[in-house]
Point group: C2
Chain length 126, copies 2
Amino acid sequence: MTIQQSAQPDILNANCPSRTVLRHITDRWTPMIVTVLTPRRQVRFKELRERVQGISPKVLTETLRSMERDGLVTRVVTASVPPRVDYELTDLGMSITRPIAALRRWAEGHVTEIEEHRQAYDNALH
Amino acid sequence: MTIQQSAQPDILNANCPSRTVLRHITDRWTPMIVTVLTPRRQVRFKELRERVQGISPKVLTETLRSMERDGLVTRVVTASVPPRVDYELTDLGMSITRPIAALRRWAEGHVTEIEEHRQAYDNALH
């Protein structure tokens, strides 16, 4: 395989860092976390954990850290006893909410149709 | 954990089948395959393999089969010697091209900004 480095970012290019960006924003939990943080507001870890059903505390922590590292969310620490920690989308994080909402609506809106396709496909094989 | 089955599909619900739909449309290669198949046209396996850099023939075959099972692509077999096989988006597949193009543009358009965030985050830790 030849290595082609294009001047413009291109997800089809194996060496383009936009692939990692795409992987992060489409990882298993990021779209759901973005969904809970939309519309923009501060949300506590506990609420995120409850709303994103099935996520473990460890994986939620790791995903939030990765999103914070990428600049999508910010941790807001309030000095209280115990200290209160909230998560909030940054401006960069806000800019991904519309594409993610479109994906989510598509997934939620086409469940029945896709299940019918799967059924027909599987029936045709047997 | 209590099992809640909501009437409306909801990706935040651990038992909702829309989660599987979301996983499929955001899997590692599906957005890239959709990108190559857009605008709608028939594309041969060989071209898909060349344009989606880094994908193995085995994984491309598996991903196309999963997309065909979900009703996103159709295999078009032309009777020739050897038979020619092309892949094309269905109407359902076409309906996902816009959300996926938005994601792709976002990923390609924010590479530099995200890399700067990562650098700043890592520097702050050390």
